[in-house]
Amino acid sequence: MAGLAASFGSGAMSNSMDDVAKQAQAFFIIGSNTTEQHPVFGTMLRQAVRQRGAKLVVADPRKIDITEFATLHLRHRPGTDIALLNGLMYIILEKGWEDKSFIDERTENFDEFKAAVMNYPPDVVSNTTNIPVEKLYEAAEILAVNNPMAVIWAMGITQHIVGVRNVMDLANLQMLLGNMGKPGGGVNPLRGQNNVQGACDMGALPNVYPAYQPVTSPEVIEKFAKAWGVKTKDEGGRVKDELTLSDKVGLTVTEMIPGILDGRIKALYIIGEDPVMSDPDTNHIRKCLSSVDFLVLQEIFPSETAVYADVLLPGASFAEKTGTFTNTERRVQMVRQAIEPPGDSKPDWWILSELAKKLMDRISDRVQKDAPHAGWEYKSTSDIMSEINAVTPSYGGITHARLDAGERLQWPCLNAERPGTPILHTKQFTRGKGKFMPIDHVPPAERPDDEYPMIMNTGRVLYHWHGGTMTRRSEGIMQVYGEALIEVNPDDAERIGLNGKTHVRVTSRRGSIEARAWVTDRVPPGMVYANFHFPEASANELTHASLDPVSKIPSYKITAVKVELV
């Protein structure tokens, strides 16, 4: 998202799944295992290929399921996305396939960008990426001459130390081809969790308030200070820092947890997350969580993280509360309560409201109760949505009443009269002109060596969800996919002598796991693929916490490992 914010001024999926699937003449899927991770959208893409002959280029080291439908599959070396993209754009410029009028009218910084791309001629790129030159030409032609073309990606692009640069280079490609702002085109990052888009929109980020209003902006601080009844600094300079809204960018999840060890974080409140399973380098995470002074976990299950918690607060599942989720295409949809929460468990909004009231009693003088949105007396999530409408411009007109009446709303939807926005950037970009960014290839942080000669890639599988807290508790799903499987290429299986044996041990510089091997050419020689659904063999025991310098996203996709027989 940080990448798109730099290129366009705002970071979100630009188009809707429906217009992409129905109107794109070509798709470029890079770093998204769409049919397993976003299965229903994956089937929409399969339909487009089979039923109306849309072209599909997939760039992925793994032979994922969607490659069965690909016009062309580029199996590039892991961590060489930028070289590949620059190489494709070199060919597009060489052939004169760029959209000159779009570049002139809607973008800036083209010359600087072009100079960078000129360092990536096909023979150099072929060496870096291991893709034959003729395939580079074939791919560039499919993507350039079929218009509109939609780019689709997910964590395979962002979970690298160069994740933000990868994204900016994809934005470059779509500006170069004039594929922005129209149906069937666009930049389409698929958000993983059901409401990760909404959590970002609602300001569950260290640098922004709801609707991406920066915490460092004095105007924004004043706006929220007034709404929430917190003092501002300019009252004669006598207001103490602890009585104002902080103008300091906070810590990310990948900084907060390690920050426990150096004393930066003393008390941590976690809602519905399982860092022991989902964060990189599990051993280090365990060490951090067992050192924190006070850990509260608000959850529906005793997750792996619960072992370290001081207090466990039972929350409610999606079936037990009413409110909204926002999907990957910025569509806000109702979630409706079907059953009562079990036992004494409570909807998470109730827990937070009660806690906030107790905290305000203890932290005196901070909140002026007469401000319009100072209080925490919410009777329902509809009340909360009214407050969101007031302080979140892009959600200004999105109410439960409209959604219940059947309106289909995608943000930005500024007020109750507006219909919402299915496609972003149609007339101009949020920042005015789209900015071409010169991007150079950087090798991965961790590279194979003699001791750890192979690369491990990680991700999820169709049948399971993330840390597996929910799906490991689903009987049928466990019948179909009941244990961790590590994908091993047949060549590697033969080399390590897997013949007849079933289990392998995968070891990185940080840890070791043992699991059943799945011998398959889904992975190329030299790569294994592991998931993190099962605590007894979670890939995150092995991953490392090298972060993208801007987004602070861990580099999950490339870990140097050795693979042995058990």
Partner: protein, 393 residues
């Protein structure tokens, strides 16, 4: 271009290229269907939608016959009503008479039409069952080919919506039967367990194994909601009986996905009622007794510490262990108590070390409204921007 036709004597201008069924529907004339479904390409094989066309020797199937100039159509002549009834009786002759115990009774299209047309089960009908009941090991989909009427909607749904081509037809004549792959278990035929075939099956041939026998259609409350797995944002109906979610049905009005769902959305709901659910607030015993936090809060190491003591005094400590009175044990408490403890700790940490030594991890599984509140709690109440969630993971 428009063509002039008559349906049941009424003159209609219809769009060229549309089928009789489409035009009739547009003019609120009902023609019964079984194999036809608006989402799928029509196959015209069940013969329920036959109509009379003036001058035609045979009655064409309305779902696959286009309209053309001068066509005069009768949708409920005595002849087609009789034909439809016969079609239904031929189906019933080869269908188990077990509506009393069939899982889909009440939402079965064959049952509804047999009732409407007063179709009788012919005395000469097939006796007994021809195929194994619940014949496929797939944990989600219950297969009973005795109830199949060969409408082929499962085949079309798998090919056209899921684009997976699991279902096909084997054999011919009376032995004709739907098979997965070349007659293998569904999962071996690369089935992704999305359940699209079940959603489109008009009878009980394909039904949901997890909810089998749990409720009749009229006993459930349907609640339309949004899936909690991935970011696609599919909507569906939760089926609720006695405060329990017993199943998930497609909702054709869903904006993103229509009838389509994946295996997790349609069948991954049973975690909701799993016995592991947390149902009471719990705090570590040391928080109630006023002592400090045990040196290491790693429960495993605490337990192993205690076990190493027990190796010296085996008989004594095994008793002590079962009493579970250690400072790191969980104690169930009331909400009031739990929230007081949390509020005390966070307020104390804030006043002693500053707001920026506290951190909040919100959840991409929670509602927008809840994430807004976490943002407000961290920023308004505590005064820190240390708030994040798993977007990076």
């Amino acid at each position: 271009m428009a063509v002039n036709i008559k349906i049941n004597g009424k003159a209609i201008q219809a769009e060229d290229g549309k089928t009789i069924l489409q035009v009739a529907k547009e003019h609120n004339v009902r023609i019964p269907t079984l194999c036809y479904h608006k989402d799928l390409n029509p196959t015209g094989n069940c013969r329920m939608c036959v109509v009379d066309v003036n001058g035609w020797r045979i009655s064409p199937a309305a779902c696959v016959t286009p309209v053309w100039e001068g066509m005069e159509i009768e949708t409920d002549s005595e002849k087609v009503m009789k034909d439809r009834k016969l079609t239904l009786e031929l189906m019933l002759a080869n269908h188990p008479q077990d509506c009393l115990t069939c899982d889909v009774a009440g939402e079965c299209e064959l049952q509804d039409l047999a009732y409407e047309y007063k179709a009788e089960v012919p005395a000469w009908g097939a006796k007994g069952t021809r195929y194994k009941v619940d014949s496929d090991p797939n944990p989600f989909i219950r297969v009973d080919m005795n109830k199949c009427i060969l409408c082929r909607r499962c085949e079309s749904a798998c090919a056209e919506i899921q684009v997976r081509d699991v279902w096909g037809v084997a054999k011919r004549g009376f032995d004709e039967v739907m098979v997965a792959g070349a007659g293998v278990p569904m999962l071996e035929a690369r089935c992704e367990s999305c359940g699209q075939c079940v959603a489109y099956c008009p009878t009980g041939a394909l039904s949901n194994k997890m909810s089998y026998g749990m409720a009749r259609a009229h006993q459930v409350k349907k609640v339309t909601t949004t899936c909690s797995y991935c970011g696609v944002g599919c909507q569906f109906d939760l089926l609720v009986k006695d405060n329990k979610v017993i199943g998930v049905h497609s909702n054709s009005e869903a904006p993103v996905n229509g009838m389509a769902l994946c295996v997790k959305g349609r069948y991954g709901y049973d975690f909701i009622h799993h016995p592991d659910r947390l149902v009471r607030p719990k705090v570590r015993r040391y928080l109630l007794e006023g002592g400090g936090k045990p040196v290491s809060s790693d429960q495993l190491s605490v337990i192993s510490d205690r076990l190493s003591v027990s190796s010296d005094q085996l008989s004594v400590t095994s008793d002590q262990l079962s009493v579970t009175s250690g400072p790191w044990d969980w104690v169930e408490v009331e909400w009031e108590k739990a929230l007081d403890i949390v509020a005390d700790k966070f307020a104390d940490t804030r006043s002693e070390f500053g707001a920026d030594t506290t951190g909040f991890l919100a959840s991409a599984k929670c509602l927008n409204e809840e994430n807004y509140l976490i943002n407000k709690l961290a920023r308004q109440v505590m005064g820190t921007n240390n708030i994040d969630h798993c977007a990076r993971l």
